[in-house]
């Protein structure tokens, strides 16, 4: 075996140009695969983080009946005791805040737009969400009732209102009668979540309860408790962390529904799986080209060494050993391409992680919650897959010329000119 390795390695090195071309093609294929996966995972991470920071939070505690009828945002199916849910989260060391979602109609006295409004506790909302830090103009809601609202910047633009302008907001109360009141625009927010920018209406919890006739005090109406979890090092660990925290809260809050990021971002994660399959397509194309390159390189090697094969056969090497020799040459090429490919992938990953990709110009046209600087993520598993895939492709590709070499009759091989 040592002799075969020696001959295979030296022949791989001897035909440097052919080896380099084939290895470079493989390097590009595997490098693209590794770095593409890094960027896609980073994009997923960014999207999930954006969801957690601006719309869904990391965990949501709601009643099962509310979730079943969620499209209607039913006020009569809110949490029976928000304080109990908040206490359960706090006892587990989690940051949490109550929210009250309701269907509202905003009027600038000329036009009227229906929106899904969020009543928030201004003193704790910032511990879970980042909307308060995304105020583009004006200010976030004060802690005390103020009859003020914060709007998504695009929604404000559609309503042609700005900071300081008055709006008429109407909604169905818990008693199913329509109530309306005038509010002042305190601030406008622009976030990476386009749905917030286009339809966000934020109001203080006490103002909302007053509008909706939904009680007062700590156990006034809240439709959900939103919980924040510490940032996990990777998307997979973030999802696993969410699942574990949700399980603990479910145990602490029987009768309530606790949804983790995996449930809250289910539709996005399904899209992610589809993306992952598509991401393989260009890689498979490049690796197919690599396979053709390897077949070609080793075939050329076989044709240029027919007499050498004859000598080895004459000295008693079996067809199987000849096949192994050329398979080893394929393996050498595969190893070179895979090592270079993973190296290139790691380099591109490093650039994508340290420098990032500026997505700000793309945010408006995308339905994905991705904006700002997109950063890749290290994914050792993808590197291992890329490496192993390169080796397997090389071994499979080398089989064809190796079998051809093994089938050569020694007398024909020795006669070959």
């Amino acid at each position: 075996m040592g002799t075969l390795w020696k001959i295979a390695l030296r022949n791989t090195a001897r035909h440097g140009r052919r080896t380099i071309i084939t290895a470079v093609v493989m390097m590009v294929g595997i490098g693209v695969f590794v770095s593409f996966d890094s960027v896609i995972t980073g994009m997923d991470r960014m999207a999930i983080d954006t969801m957690a920071d601006y719309t869904t939070s990391s965990l949501k505690i709601r009643t099962p009946a509310y979730v079943d009828d969620i499209e209607a945002a039913p006020l009569d199916k809110g949490l029976p005791s928000p304080t109990a849910a908040l206490a359960a989260a706090a006892s587990d060391g989690m940051r949490s805040t109550p929210r009250l979602r309701f269907v509202a109609r905003i009027s600038n006295y000329t036009d009227e737009i229906p929106v899904l409004a969020d009543a928030v506790d201004p003193s704790t909302d910032g511990t879970v969400f980042k909307v308060a830090t995304s105020v583009e103009s004006g200010s976030w809601l004060p802690s005390a009732p103020s009859h003020e609202v914060v709007l998504g910047a695009e929604l404000a633009s559609e309503l042609k209102v700005g900071v300081g302008d008055a709006l008429l907001i109407s909604a169905q109360t818990v008693n199913d009668v329509t109530n309306a009141d005038e509010y002042t625009v305190a601030g406008l927010v622009t976030t990476p979540a386009t749905e917030v920018n286009r339809g966000g209406l934020y109001m203080g919890l006490q103002d909302a309860r007053q509008l909706l006739d939904a009680g007062t005090g700590p156990d006034g109406l809240a439709t959900e408790i939103d919980v924040a979890l510490p940032r996990a090092p990777s998307l997979d660990s973030a999802l696993a962390q969410g699942d574990a925290a949700a399980a603990r809260l479910r145990a602490a809050l029987p009768g309530l529904r606790v949804d983790a990021l995996r449930d809250l971002g289910a539709s996005y994660l399904a899209l992610r799986n589809a993306k992952a399959s598509y991401s393989m397509v260009p890689v498979l194309i490049v690796l197919a080209i690599s396979a053709v390159g390897i077949i070609n390189t080793i075939l050329m090697s076989v044709f240029s060494r027919v007499r050498e094969i004859g000598v080895l056969r004459a000295y008693g090497m079996t067809p199987r050993e000849i096949k192994r020799l050329f398979t080893l040459e394929g393996l050498c090429l595969g190893l070179a391409g895979s090592v270079l490919g993973v190296g290139l992938g790691a380099l591109l990953d490093f650039l994508a992680i340290s420098r990032g990709i500026d997505m700000r110009g793309l945010a408006g046209g995308w339905s994905l919650p991705v904006s700002g600087i997109l950063r890749g993520e290290w994914n050792p598993r993808t590197m291992v897959i890329g490496f192993v895939f390169g080796i397997v492709v090389s071994l499979l590709a080398a089989r064809i010329p190796a079998r051809r070499a093994a089938r050569l009759e020694p007398t024909d091989a020795l006669r070959f000119q």
């Binding site: 002799t3 007499r307 000295y315 079996t318």
Partner: protein
């Protein structure tokens, strides 16, 4: 255990060819490359096979070296008919019993002189690496290439390459060394050196050589000259 283990070897063993015939089919026509060849080759012979081009010399060597099988007839070594062996057994026979020297040397270009010489022993896998090195050193010195062990074939002259090929053929102490026109690519002075080298080895070590050649010099040195015409042995002279 291989088919031809070392302990089975006998230095006095001879090859016995009986009615060896080789027929090639080219389309509809039939070519009788060898036609009922009968011959005994004793251990330690220095035998030259001569004849015009296409007379069957190379086919004779190929069949003797188990690179090809006869269509009919028997080649008997150690009581066994080599002609009827399966490919695996023929590989084992070549690995352990036969060595070749080719007209164009056919050294492995990516291996050094030492590695080329060691190759048959590495393929044979009978000896440990220390013994393989020792034998290679000894045989390289015997062919006059001491000090050139680490050179590659491209760094050698034609005569030096053929010396390496001879060393490669000798290193495993084979039953017979088959050489197909070994001096054809060499100038006359180098050819004379190579012939003298082989003859010296034949005398000193008792190695059996069977050559095919057109070279008059080789015929002069041979102790036995077998002439083949149209696949038949037409003369067998001993000197």
């Amino acid at each position: 255990m291989s088919t031809y283990a070392a302990e089975q070897r006998s230095p006095s063993a001879a090859l016995h060819l009986e009615g060896v015939t080789k027929i090639y089919h080219k389309g509809e026509s039939e070519v009788r490359a060898l036609d009922g060849v009968n011959l005994d080759i004793d251990a330690g012979e220095f035998l030259t096979v001569v004849g015009p081009s296409g007379s069957g010399k190379t086919t004779f060597l190929n069949i003797l070296g188990c690179l090809d099988s006869p269509t009919d007839g028997r080649i008997v070594y150690d009581g066994r008919d080599l002609g009827g062996m399966a490919e695996k057994e023929r590989s084992a026979y070549r690995r352990e019993r036969i060595s070749f020297v080719f007209q164009s040397y056919n050294l492995i270009p990516v291996l050094t002189v030492r590695e080329n010489v060691e190759l048959p022993l590495l393929i044979e896998r009978r000896l440990d690496s220390r013994e393989i090195h020792r034998r290679a050193e000894e045989i390289i010195a015997a062919v006059g290439l001491a000090g050139k062990e680490d050179r590659y074939p491209r760094e050698l002259s034609g005569g030096q390459e053929q010396r390496v090929a001879i060393a490669r053929a000798l290193v495993k102490d084979p039953l017979v060394i088959l050489a197909d026109e070994p001096t054809a690519n060499l100038d006359s002075r180098t050819a004379e050196e190579i012939v003298a080298l082989m003859k010296g080895i034949n005398v000193d070590r008792g190695s059996t050589f069977v050559f095919s050649t057109h070279d008059r010099l080789m015929m002069e040195h041979a102790r036995r000259v077998v002439t083949i015409r149209d696949g038949r042995i037409t003369a067998d002279e001993r000197k």
